[in-house]
Symmetry: D2
Subunit: 109 residues, 4 copies
């Protein structure tokens, strides 16, 4: 079993012990990912990154990751595969010679 499958199992076991699958439809999981990302963002609000406590960042990264894994699991997606495919797409959207040193979106390169 891969590392991501093991983490998925851990999170699904946590969810099922609490009978939470009934709430975790994909639309609400997408809401949860967005809400947790915003809590991560809140750690950086009104301050420079240097004064943000790493402990806070760690907790919010874990929350985003957990819901992301559960949404991927809902669709039976292989997260590694999904990421590898997106990187391949981005190789085309952001060719090195055009994108190097620029923060523009692909449609503004």
């Amino acid at each position: 079993m891969t590392q991501l499958q093991q983490l998925t199992d851990l999170l699904i076991k946590f969810r099922d012990a609490r009978d939470w699958k009934q709430f975790h439809n994909p639309k609400d999981l997408a809401l949860a990912i967005s809400i947790e990302s915003s809590e991560l963002l809140e750690a950086f609000l009104w301050k420079p990154a240097e004064s943000v406590p790493v402990e806070k960042v760690k907790e919010e990264i874990a929350d985003v990751f957990a819901y992301l894994v559960m949404l991927a699991d809902h669709y039976n997606l292989d997260l590694e595969q999904v990421v590898r495919e997106k990187v391949q797409q981005n190789e085309v959207k952001y060719p090195v010679d055009k994108a190097k040193g620029k923060s523009n979106k692909y449609n503004e390169l």
Copy 2:
């Protein structure tokens, strides 16, 4: 090397080939995670989950994942460890006997 380290390497290599580290300070990475989560959410806007194309969901999951991995890498965090620790904290915050079948936040249980 673990699966998550391999994916991290892939993403960092993609970033460095484009000389993008200069833009990827942790505050902007937190913005990027939030923005990509919102694009994921947009796939579900005005419609039931059943009519959302999986292809769109896959792409946005990959984008959130990629920036999450890069933020974790910035802080030299071990993502697996971070997730396991959060699950342990949540075992305490959401004890099975109190949280079972309820969607409330821990402070409203």
Copy 3:
């Protein structure tokens, strides 16, 4: 008729001409507000505020405002009243002598 009522009327008329009320349930309106806020945020991604084009900011502010007004309208809320009440609550949560010059949340003052 107040200025906010006039803007509400304008936005409702735009919506009704397109028969969009059927999509604008309050949950999806909340998604729309969050998604448009994120597009506003995207204008600032990877760059300092100085290099953000005001035109982009204007358009996204308008979008957030429009959905906010429509959500308030759904609940028959008087936006001015809602804002004045919140300011009064915040006077208590953030007393001047404790909050002056500090960016902390009220529970960390």
Copy 4:
């Protein structure tokens, strides 16, 4: 003085009494708008709109509105004008005969 100018004045007075202008650069204001929108969204998480308490919705609408007004004020924008211009743009992007009864984005009509 218009209703929106009066609300702007109220919010700016609240801010200045606490000496918070120093934190309210436009990038962080955009973060704040996004974070508050996400707290509004959280009111709807895991539940149908009917079971969301209006009091919670009111408070979060006020918070989004407040930061939106302060960001507009930073750029010396006339919010009414900004909204009216966007509605005019949207009349073109979403012509009634094409957009009626459809929830698609303008580029998918």
